[in-house]
């Protein structure tokens, strides 16, 4: 009886349907998605090196908290201003007369924000930022994944008397004048070098880690200067910056990193974080965020041409 059933189900002879199905699938994959087929074949036949599954290890939470406290950095949250000032999100930039509006392939970039560094210096302990001058940030939605998706202009010249109007820019966001609220930013698990899949941490441990700082909830809308980024996706951002600065492809999530690259990558600092903000009609992808990083030494000498911008989304 079992033999009968097996022969009915599996068939001892050539199974036409399976043959047609496999040939069709192979043709579809081979012609339509050659890269995916190659990757799938390598995975099926175990040719792709797989990391050994790691046993979960208990972590000394006290040591983690101490480290997080030691690495905590000051940050400034951009909040709606009650008094008039130079710093703002959206609107039109107050560029000095001799500064040209940044372009990309003949099209003007979208103005994101302008920051008065003197006002920043008065409010915070971000010591590596110049204490004078102004920063202007411009965005290009066609350059996601590239280092210059956000480009900065730094100028110590006085702003122009008249507001520069956008001519042919991709977008114009509504204007919001901003002030700065000093907070403490705590490194995320990525910056602490902890992997939740290999260490045994419960939600209470995460909460105690976040309680060290006083920044808003990571999922809230927040535009910030300095501190650590609020990552949407776990990513070695310092390494992504180093790769982009060197013109290398994005690091894959399983890539081993050379110590030299890791050391160089640690010098990147978050300069600016601009969030998707429904109030300003800003939406970068699916509620994404823009992060502008700079090496500390470049920031100290006012060289804001060497920034690297990253973008993450849900």
């Amino acid at each position: 009886m079992i033999d009968d059933a097996l022969s009915k189900w599996a068939g001892v002879r050539f199974d036409d349907l399976l043959a047609y199905g496999f040939v069709g699938l192979a043709l579809l994959l081979g012609l339509g998605f050659p890269r995916q087929l190659r990757r799938s074949l390598r995975r099926w036949f175990r040719d792709e090196p797989q990391p050994e599954p790691m046993a979960k290890s208990a972590v000394d939470m006290r040591a983690v908290l101490m480290r997080a406290k030691r690495l905590a950095r000051p940050t400034l949250l951009l909040i709606p201003a009650t008094e008039p000032g130079f710093s703002k999100l959206g609107g039109d930039p107050d560029l000095p007369p001799d500064v040209t509006w940044p372009q990309n392939v003949g099209r003007a970039r979208t103005f994101l924000c302008q920051i008065d560094l003197a006002a920043v210096a008065a409010q915070s302990c971000i010591v590596w930022l110049p204490s004078e001058g102004r920063l202007y940030a411009f965005y290009d939605s066609d350059r996601h994944g590239m280092a210059d998706v956000v480009s900065l202009i730094y100028s110590v010249a006085a702003p122009g008397d008249q507001v520069r109007k956008t001519n042919g820019a991709q977008q114009r966001f509504p204007e919001r004048r901003v002030a700065f609220a000093p907070l403490t930013s705590v490194p995320s698990l990525d910056w602490l070098g902890l992997d939740v899949s290999t260490v045994d941490l419960d939600e209470e441990a995460f909460l105690s880690l976040e309680a060290i700082g006083n920044a808003p909830s990571p999922d809230d809308v927040q535009h910030r200067i300095g501190g650590y980024p609020n990552e949407i996706q776990p990513e070695r951002m310092w390494l992504s910056c180093e790769h982009l600065a060197r013109g290398l492809p994005n690091p894959s999530w399983s890539e081993e990193v050379s110590p030299e690259l890791e050391r160089a990558a640690k010098t990147w600092r978050l300069l600016l974080q601009i969030d998707s903000d429904p109030g300003l009609k800003m939406n970068f992808g699916d509620g994404g965020r823009l992060y502008v990083f700079i090496r500390e030494r470049h920031a100290r000498r006012g060289d804001f041409n060497k920034t690297v911008a990253l973008w993450q989304t849900y």
Partner: protein
């Protein structure tokens, strides 16, 4: 009046009923002959059904040749659906053997898609791919995805069907931040190319097909294939009549 035994056949009664003359209306007076006739018909039907059951093969063969029946409850409906899914490949093979190659291929692909959807659901249940307790905020949900092995440490995870912002903002986190709605991306660059223009390294944004292929979970693609296959089956059945590769068992002949 003689006492009536339920189910007993009155052999002396006139075969036939006056239901037709009454226009299908219930009787206004007791009619023992007609009731006896209906009892006889009921007994006859039960006998036929019992013989049909007895004629079916027993053991494993009984699974291969299931008794066709009309589902009349939720459990029956689920069982009938599962039987249909598991029987699909065999039916498709028979169709190909009988020369209906195109129909067999469509039915085979539909059956494979049905199996994939069912397999994904079973796999999800087995691996516990549904966050029940704790915070469902994205940051906590992403940590949980790493813990259960849904995504690697630095792997980007994409909201595939319900976006996090836009119209998805009206959807609660405990619904949208679940594995059914998420796709672990092969690379962060793929995630960039799903959402926006980027000319990085000469790779443009994915077109609609690319976004669908790279940006939706396997179960969703299988469900789409299954829906398309069933739609084609319904249209073909509507146009050319229903085709059964395995014809239903003939009604047992009464002596």
């Amino acid at each position: 009046m003689r006492p009536r035994v339920p189910g007993a056949v009155n052999r002396r009664c006139r075969l036939g009923s006056d239901t037709f003359e009454r226009g299908g209306q219930p009787r206004s007076v007791l009619d023992s002959d007609a009731e006896a006739y209906e009892a006889m018909v009921r007994l006859h039907r039960e006998t036929l059904a019992r013989r049909a059951v007895e004629a079916q093969p027993k053991g494993l063969g009984a699974i291969a040749e299931p008794i066709p029946h009309v589902p009349d409850g939720p459990v029956d409906a689920i069982a009938a659906g599962l039987a249909h899914i598991f029987n699909g490949p065999r039916e498709a093979r028979k169709e190909v053997e009988q020369g209906y190659v195109i129909r067999g291929l469509v039915d085979g692909a539909t059956a494979a898609a049905d199996l994939e959807v069912g397999g994904s659901a079973a796999n999800g249940v087995r691996k516990g791919y549904f966050k029940l307790g704790g915070s469902h905020a994205w940051r906590d949900a992403r940590k949980w995805l790493g813990k259960i092995g849904f995504a690697e440490k630095f792997q980007h995870v994409h909201h595939a069907l319900v976006p996090n912002r836009g119209w998805g903002k009206a959807v609660p986190d405990f619904i949208k931040n679940q594995p059914w709605n998420l796709k672990a991306m092969e690379s962060s660059l793929d995630h960039v190319r799903i959402h926006s223009n980027s000319r990085q390294f000469g790779l443009p944004q994915f077109n609609s097909l690319g976004q669908y292929w790279h940006g939706t979970p396997t179960w969703w693609k299988a469900a789409n294939a299954s829906a398309a296959g069933h739609s084609v089956q319904a249209v073909v059945d509507g146009l050319f009549g229903r085709y059964e590769a395995t014809p239903p068992d003939p009604q047992p002949q009464t002596k």
